[in-house]
Amino acid sequence: MNKEDYLKEIAEIKTIMNRSSRFISLSGLSGILAGIYAIIGAITAQLILTNYKNSSSSYSLLPISYLEYTLIVIALLVLLLSILSAYILSAKKAKKSGEKLWDATSKRLILNFSIPLFTGGAFCIVLYQNNLIGLIAPCTLIFYGLACLNASKYTLGDIRYLGLATIIIGLVSTQFIGYGLYFWAFGFGVMHIVYGAVLYNKYDKNIH
């Protein structure tokens, strides 16, 4: 064997280690889309809130719980659209590169992403129960960041930095209660677009 054979062998070991333990078909484009949905959602929420505050608007006649439901529906819609885009675009990417979408790596990724995320979701409900509304936005950011951090071991490692960034934004936002929506738009919107673009440039562009 010569030098090139050894290099090839080491490269192959690395590829197999990655492919067998990480879900590599995660789509960068879906990250960009998720960011755009988040920003649209945040703007819509902001418009509804300002409308509600201006007493001239018809919204003010409605009970506060209606406003809360509207905001929750917007948040769930953003989440649903993001998951749907991630699913469709990752399936497409997997097909293009000849990988399977649903295998041991994707199952492991979803499980390890879900544990911190659902813990955070439950904790946000507790905050709501105790009327600590101002802490809900920071809480979603922090737990989402932890979920990304945890998931980074099972997919493209770059997600780790998205997680760290979101955790920091979440912690900072705890000191600016009342501006949650802005931090939310920055953390979920802008950061997703930035990281989606990074992933797209690094991994997706070369797959044809």
């Binding site: 050894y6 062998e9 080491i10 192959e12 197999i16 492919r19 067998s20 333990s21 295998d103 041991a104």
Partner: protein
């Protein structure tokens, strides 16, 4: 140079066997079909290479049933891990020496 070559393991001198070991290094257990997908080889080919690694006691096999379907899981042994690391280190040294 002689010392390095001594650590190059003849057992790993095949694409499929090297692949099996690489995948098992980073996963606690892998079943037969997943291993087949990861490496893109046929049943017979994979089975024969698994047998040779098992004979060296580099991997261990656990047979169980999921419902009525038999399911065979493989994992790397302590010896296998040790030998594989030795092999990789030797490869790297060879690269640096050349």
């Amino acid at each position: 140079m002689k010392d390095i070559l001594k650590n190059i393991n003849k057992v790993f001198d095949h694409r499929v066997r090297l692949g099996i070991m690489s995948a098992l290094m980073v996963n606690d257990t892998i079943d037969f079909n997943s291993l087949k997908d990861i490496l893109g080889v046929t049943d017979g080919n994979l089975a024969s290479h698994i047998k040779s690694l098992e004979k060296e006691e580099y991997i261990s096999i656990k047979k169980q049933f999921i419902g009525k379907k038999p399911n065979t899981k493989y994992s790397i042994t302590k010896l296998g891990k040790l030998e594989f690391i030795k092999h990789i280190n030797a490869l790297e040294k060879l690269l640096n020496n050349n």
